[in-house]
């Protein structure tokens, strides 16, 4: 069946529909990962975005049970050059098309995705509509223009957990368990980590759990008091979608947490780690500013340099906003990581307090595992507190 993608710029791409039929609007972005479409679709950070994969063959290995990054796909739509007619992989459970149909996700194939990517690179991310229903280009373009802009949108509230839960492994499976007060640490659990969920990915939770952390996931709107009441060793500020500036409540909680850290002696200090949106929120909470990148960083091949060690890591990235390095208060905060492609701020660190954050994804999924050491760093900070105690 025919389908169209119309952009607010007036450009229209005609192709074929796959997945669910219907119409979807969102910010059109491109991702240069050559594999990992399942992880990308299910990453809550893509809430409200229509994703173009630059890699031409998508769907080759189907969809499986283990590689989902959240409970459902969050992307608003998927645009590809060619959708695979057959999937092949020993772990696959169903085709990408069937999966998308199950979740009502609209897909568009057989368009010049490279032309689309170049267009986005040149004019910046654009609002767009994919439709199988409305094939009138004029009407679609005006719908694209009418769609809400990413800037100023709080999307985290759509994707966050509706209530607190503990994320744990039981009988070989990951489960969510509700709790009233923080459970005791079990043997093998070394630290309690509270996750502020702005759209957290499963792989962040898997990584922390494998590092021996008890994980208590809290909704985005949770207050500092609610978090502190759980007596965390560490707090992870997760990734998530949308404009950080539109999440004042998150910034507010973080500011309170930072003030609490300032008050505490070293032996009582919890550690804070931020990822992606979490990084931006920390940047704002520490007094910095954020801005919207022209077309964002989305892919699995961005070189980032650890300023302290000089080491390069190839990172998994997915963000449309960034922290303005110059806006950070120099006396408290330093830039810890730099993007070697465009020199934007990829990480920050508090000079005195156990706070650090990165703009990219140490949990990868999809993408290289080079940055997984950051979880160790988080653990070290929590260990340091113990050492002071």
């Amino acid at each position: 069946m025919k389908a169209l993608l119309a952009l607010e710029s007036g450009r229209v791409f005609a192709g074929l529909s796959f997945g669910a039929e219907g119409e979807t609007t969102g910010e059109v972005v491109f991702n240069t990962c050559m594999a990992g479409y399942q992880e990308i679709l299910t990453d809550p950070s893509y809430e409200g975005q229509i994703i173009t994969m630059t890699s031409p063959h998508i769907g080759n290995y189907g969809v499986n049970e283990e590689d989902a990054e959240s409970r459902k796909p969050f992307g608003a739509g998927l645009v590809v050059r060619e959708i695979s007619g057959l999937y092949s992989n020993w772990r696959a459970k169903e085709s990408l098309q069937a999966y998308m149909q199950r979740f009502g996700l609209v897909g568009l194939s057989d368009i010049d995705t490279r032309a689309l990517t170049k267009h986005l690179r040149e004019v910046g991310s654009l609002r767009g509509v994919v439709s199988t229903r409305d094939l009138d280009t004029k009407s679609l373009i005006s719908k694209a223009k009418a769609a809400p802009s990413m800037a100023g949108q709080d999307l985290a509230k759509h994707v966050t957990a509706d209530k607190a839960y503990q994320w744990a492994r039981e009988g070989g499976r990951w489960i969510r368990r509700s709790f009233d007060k923080a459970p005791e640490l079990l043997t093998g659990e070394r630290f309690r980590v509270v996750v502020m969920d702005f759209g957290v990915k499963f792989n962040t939770l898997r990584n922390l759990s494998q590092h021996g952390c008890q994980l208590l996931v809290m909704p985005a709107q949770s207050t500092a008091d609610q978090i502190l009441a759980l007596e965390p060793d560490g707090i992870l500020i997760s990734n998530g979608p949308g404009d950080p500036a539109a999440v004042p409540y998150g910034v507010e909680s973080l500011q309170q947490l930072i003030r609490e850290l300032e008050r505490r002696t070293k032996d009582r200090q919890f550690a804070i780690m931020g990822i992606c949106l979490g990084h931006q929120l920390l940047g704002l909470a520490l007094g910095g500013k954020t801005f919207k990148l022209k077309f964002g960083h989305r892919g699995g091949n961005h070189p980032v340099k650890d300023v302290a060690t000089g080491k390069i890591e190839i990172t998994s990235q997915n963000h449309g906003f960034a922290v303005d390095a110059a806006s950070l208060p120099q006396k408290d905060v330093e830039v810890s990581h730099l993007n070697l492609n465009d020199n934007t701020c990829e990480g920050l660190r508090h000079r005195r307090l156990p706070i650090f954050a990165v703009q990219y994804h140490p949990e990868s999924a999809p993408g290289p595992h080079d940055a997984a050491y950051l979880f160790d760093r988080f653990l070290q900070q929590m260990t340091a507190k113990r050492a002071h105690a």
């Binding site: 999937y87 032309a115 091949n301 070189p303 993408g367 595992h369």
Partner: protein
């Protein structure tokens, strides 16, 4: 870290002659490295025995040695040049092995040379299978189970522990001799015995076979700060069991999830770190169980490899250049990505297209060879194609392969075509069809891809094909989609088809020819449909980053999309067509010529546009030409580019036969061909027209005629007289040429020549026996003619010029002969109105000079002549083709007198016998060499000895020599034997040769033939009683005793000489070897001498190139 300041001179070792498994990809990598290091200010010393390389151009390195790649020679170079560092990772296995040898002999310590790129321990850990296994196990990576056995019992014990199937590989054998897969216990003992027997050290490796698992390759780079990146991931369509070099491969990986890919990436880094490759590129191969995902490491190459060249071309990331810079201390983030200019080299390319590589084989030249693809590589070249989808890239690659196919079948020319209709005929039946298909799919072979398609067309279910082939269902499905579309296209109503369908065909990768074939139209008609309906290709850039950043390098491929990315330019443009995939007869020499044309035309102020599809070459390096189109060399693809680029003209005479075949069709399409006109090319190729020209010019030709039947052939032959040289007219490169000595052989030949027709008669020439063959490369601008070199062959006429050794300057020609040759050459250059290069082959017999053939194009010998004389013929030719005059380009004296050399250069061919056990190692009129080397020295004996050493034939200084000669060679042979005795050699001979020698008063030991008992010829060879074999074949195509002698010599790596002419040259060389040791000089030194000796002949460090 910035570059190292403590090193000044760096030695780079090339990979030597082109052989199977080591081709021109190492010229590409070496050239990049030399350029990069020179640019960094280092003094670069280069050693390579292969003159047909760009890397050995004297302008590139500071000192260029075209010398044999042996430890002895390398030591001489090191002693002379005193490099502080040796970079061994760019010259393939050859350079690595030499580095190890030099290190173990203490040479590197003695001269304080540091190995950079990879240290000795790292090379050993990767190359020694035992150490590799141990190292991998220590870091927790899995490998197939294996063990070494030296005895049967030990072997059985190991096999018990491994289970079946298993692979047996004898240690230290070539070409997989004695190796094999054992599927069940009852085959074991025999296989063990065969393996132990084949190994010179009586040792075998027994390994768990994981045949049928998915096979992958990762190209990894590491810098001295331990930053690692994967440049490219490659999936083998042919699963484990088929060598990666013989597999159809695809980039990027298509059938792994990110999770699985990332785990493999982690393993790759673990591997490179454990092996300890300090800096540079490595290739790591993995196998994945398709049912469980279990992963094993197969091997790692701690160096730039064939796959690295592929990866570089596939992604735009210059692996070799970066590897060289990392070796001198740079870190990845300190180097820029040339293509984006702004982003650093420390990243992983993302590609938004699909790359398909298909190997090219030469089995038609080795009919006795086992054509089954297995763990030993057999292909001689490869083609790469880029398309947005796999289907498009696959079809482009297949038509770029030049095996007659215009894509995946649907052309009436491909293997397996029309098979499906067989089932309708009673005598074949479905069952037999299915059996045939199953056979061609189950047992890997070079035509399998076509049979996969044939099976789908015949209605075999995809899952059955997967079962037979173990190829991933995803790929089979892709082919199925092509098949489905083909049906749709075929079944569409009237011509011309609708635009949408036409466009869709192109998006499925169908060529105009295929569409025409399916629609009952001509290729030309389909092109017209496309042009009227505006279905024209768009060109996309290869930019390393999937369009995330702006690309500055104009490296393009065609596809059918919305948006075209070509940036128009206002400069005057010339397009150069390359040679396509390497094959026997058309290899690196032609790429060399194309690259030189590009360089010269750039200097002439032209924008150069290169078209080629061979990923191994320098011509397809993105910074060789101003614009690179990585496209098949077919009329359709070339015309499309011409339409887009509108060049002033095309150069088709440099890439070998491939572009030459396009000359007339291109001209008919109103494309301007530069240089010698297509009509002249045709004139030289058309026997009638050429014969008429020769008669007019009064140049003798061997008596000849044509025939359509045995009767005609017999009549012609009787007129001319036996022996005759006979060949079909539709093949090139000496294919199917034979010398026929009598009527019985003639009858036999005619019976085998299948495709005889009025358009394709059989060509018969008087065979000029005992004639000296000559090759002349000449340059003409229509007014002046410059004779680049007159090469005298070592082997007599009858041995293909490509397989014969030759020497410059000529050795035995009288001044009168030379004058006649000059005169004929000039007459022909005028007669054919040559503008550019021409190659002429002559034969001198009993004082008469005959012309064998003339080819008004660049020849295989152009690089050799250019290197030997210091005058770059290809560059001069390119300038002439755009209108420059020779007299403005070459000093007058050089132009009239030709190059004067105070040295001697010998070219020797390198043959792939060891790769094809069972193929008889005799030379003939059909070319079978894969590459060449050059020996250069002050006199012939040393130059020849060097050429032999470089070609891998270490001539002995003492020991036993085995003679087995045909009757006609016995008198002359005994002379050679006598001389060898004087030099202290002992004589061995087979029956009648021994009797003959004894009658001549020579002391000789008789050796039994294989059938006569033991010890026999094989035994004396195996025991090394004999260190040189001189065996002249009888000329009959029967499996004679000589065959077994030659096989034994090959298997045990004992030098073998099969013509008396070569034996005589060998004798001279042995004499030279015995009175002195090797000395080496750089090309730059020779040329400087030349300048002293003959003003204006050759320029000092900068040779003449206009």
């Amino acid at each position: 870290m910035p570059k190292r300041q403590d090193i000044h001179t760096i030695l780079i070792i090339g990979s030597g002659p082109i052989v199977i498994g080591q081709a021109c990809e190492f010229d590409y990598s070496g050239t990049q490295a030399v350029k990069a290091l020179v640019k960094e200010g280092y003094r670069v010393v280069l050693v390579n025995s292969n003159p047909a390389t760009i890397m050995t151009d004297p302008e590139l390195a500071h000192a260029t040695y075209i010398e044999p790649l042996t430890p002895e020679i390398l030591e001489e170079v090191i002693a002379k040049e005193r490099p502080e560092a040796l970079l061994p990772t760019l010259g393939g296995q050859t350079a690595l092995n030499l580095a190890v040898a030099l290190s173990e002999r203490g040479v590197l310590d003695k001269y304080k040379v540091e190995l950079i790129g990879a240290r000795l321990e790292a090379i050993k850990k990767a190359e020694d299978r035992r150490l590799f296994k141990k190292t991998m196990q220590e870091v927790g990576l899995k490998l197939p189970k294996s063990g070494y056995a030296k005895a049967l019992a030990e072997g059985e014990e190991i096999a018990r522990g491994i289970g079946y199937p298993l692979i047996i590989r004898p240690s230290f054998t070539l070409g997989g001799i004695g190796s094999g897969t054992v599927y069940a216990k009852d085959e074991l003992l025999q296989a063990l015995r065969r393996g132990l027997e084949a190994s010179p050290v009586n040792e075998i490796l027994i390994e768990e076979s994981i045949i049928g698992w998915k096979e992958f390759e990762l190209e990894v780079m590491r810098d001295s700060a331990d930053n690692c990146v994967v440049v490219c991931s490659i999936e083998n369509l042919d699963p484990m069991g088929v060598h990666t070099g013989d597999s159809i491969t695809v980039a990027p990986i298509q059938t792994l999830t990110d999770r699985e890919y990332q785990a493999m990436r982690d393993d790759a880094f673990t591997c490179i770190r454990a092996i300890g490759v300090d800096t540079g590129g490595s290739n790591i191969q993995f196998a994945v169980n398709p049912g469980t995902g279990e992963r094993m490491v197969i091997e790692m190459n701690p160096r730039v490899s064939r796959s690295s060249a592929l990866a570089s071309k596939a992604t735009g990331f210059p692996i070799a250049k970066i590897a060289a810079l990392l070796a001198v201390g740079y870190h990845l983030d300190e180097l820029k990505n040339d293509i984006t200019k702004e982003t650093p080299a420390s990243f992983e390319p993302s590609i938004d297209y699909t790359v398909v590589k298909i190997p090219r084989f030469a089995f038609e030249k080795f009919t006795a060879a086992d054509q089954t693809l297995n763990t030993a590589m057999k292909s001689v070249g490869e083609v790469m194609a880029l398309g947005r989808t796999f289907k498009e890239a696959l079809q482009k690659a297949l038509r770029g392969l030049e095996i007659g196919s215009q894509g995946l079948g649907a052309d009436g020319k491909s293997p397996g075509e029309g098979l499906q209709t067989l089932q309708d005929t009673a005598e074949v039946g479905r069952e037999r069809l299915l059996n045939l298909l199953k056979d061609r799919i189950r047992i890997p072979n070079c035509e399998r891809i076509f049979y996969l398609k044939a099976a789908l067309i015949a209605g075999v279910p995809a899952r059955e094909i997967v079962e037979w082939s173990k190829i991933d269902p995803w790929f089979i499905n892709q082919i199925e989609e092509i098949v489905e579309f083909e049906k749709k296209l075929k079944g569409a109503p009237a011509n011309p088809i609708e635009r949408d369908l036409l466009l869709e065909s192109k998006r499925f990768g169908f060529s105009d020819f295929q569409i025409g074939f399916l629609r009952g139209a001509t290729e030309r008609q389909v092109r017209d449909w496309r042009l009227t309906m505006n279905v024209i290709p768009t060109y996309k850039s290869v930019d390393t980053c999937a369009a995330e950043f702006q690309a500055y390098t104009p490296y393009y491929y065609s596809t059918y999309e919305d948006e075209d990315e070509i940036r128009p330019s206002s400069k005057k443009r010339v397009m150069i067509l390359g040679g396509g995939p390497n094959r026997i007869g058309q290899g690196i020499e032609f790429d060399y010529c194309c690259v030189h044309a590009v360089m010269a035309l750039k200097e002439e102020g032209y924008e150069t546009i290169m078209v080629n599809c061979n990923p191994e070459t320098v011509s397809t390096d993105y910074d060789t030409s101003d614009k690179l189109f990585f496209e098949p060399l077919t009329l359709e693809d070339v015309l499309n580019i011409v339409d887009k680029e509108k060049p002033e003209g095309l150069i088709v005479q440099f890439g070998g036969q491939t572009p030459l075949n396009l000359a007339i069709p291109l001209e008919k399409s109103n494309v301007k061909i530069l240089g010698t006109s297509p009509d002249s090319i045709d004139l030289a190729e058309d026997r009638k027209r050429f014969g008429a020209l020769l008669t007019k010019l009064g140049i003798p030709q061997a008596p000849n005629g044509t025939a359509l039947s045995f009767e005609e052939a017999k009549a012609t032959t009787e007129r001319i007289g036996y022996p005759v040289m006979i060949r079909p007219s539709y093949v090139l490169g000496g294919r199917a040429m034979e010398v026929v000595y009598d009527e019985a052989m003639l009858a036999d030949y005619i019976a085998r020549a299948t495709r005889v027709s009025p358009e394709h008669p059989i060509l018969i020439d008087k065979f000029l026996d005992n004639a000296i063959e000559l090759d002349v490369d000449v340059l003409s601008d229509g007014e002046d003619t410059y004779i680049g070199g007159i090469m005298e062959h070592i082997e007599e006429a009858g041995i293909h010029s490509g397989d014969s050794a030759c020497v410059l300057p000529s050795r035995t020609l009288s001044p009168k002969d030379l004058a006649t040759l000059r005169q004929y050459t000039e007459q022909l250059a005028k007669g054919l109105q040559v503008r550019g290069l021409m190659n002429i082959q002559f034969a001198i017999r009993e004082g008469i000079i005959y012309i064998l053939e003339a080819n008004p194009r660049a020849s295989r010998t152009v690089p050799f002549v250019s290197k030997a004389t210091g005058v770059s013929l290809a560059k001069l030719a390119a300038r002439v083709m755009v209108g420059r005059k020779l007299r403005d380009l070459i000093p007058a004296k050089l132009l009239t007198e030709g190059p004067q050399m105070s040295w001697v250069a010998v070219k020797e061919a390198v043959l792939p016998w060891s790769r094809f056990p069972g193929v008889d190692a005799i030379l003939g009129p059909e070319m079978r060499s894969t590459g060449e080397v050059m020996g250069i020295d002050r006199d012939f004996s040393r130059a020849f000895a060097k050429s032999q050493a470089a070609a891998g034939t270490q001539l002995p200084k003492s020991g036993g020599v085995l003679f087995s000669l045909t009757d006609k060679d016995k008198p002359a042979g005994s002379q050679i034997a006598r001389e060898l005795v004087k030099l202290g050699f002992e004589l061995y001979a087979t029956g009648s040769t021994a009797i003959d020698f004894r009658n001549q008063g020579l002391e000789v030991r008789t050796v039994l033939k294989l059938t006569e008992g033991r010890p026999n010829v094989a035994d004396v060879i195996k025991n090394r009683d004999v260190v040189l074999v001189i065996n002249t074949p009888s000329g009959k195509r029967t499996r004679t005793e000589g065959f077994t002698i030659r096989q034994a010599a090959l298997q045990h790596n004992v030098p073998i000489v099969t013509t008396l002419a070569a034996a005589r040259a060998a004798l001279t060389a042995i004499r030279g070897l015995k009175d002195g040791h090797w000395t080496v000089s750089s090309l730059q030194d020779y040329y400087a001498d030349g300048k002293k000796n003959f003003k204006g002949s050759v320029g000092a460090a900068s040779p003449i190139h206009g």
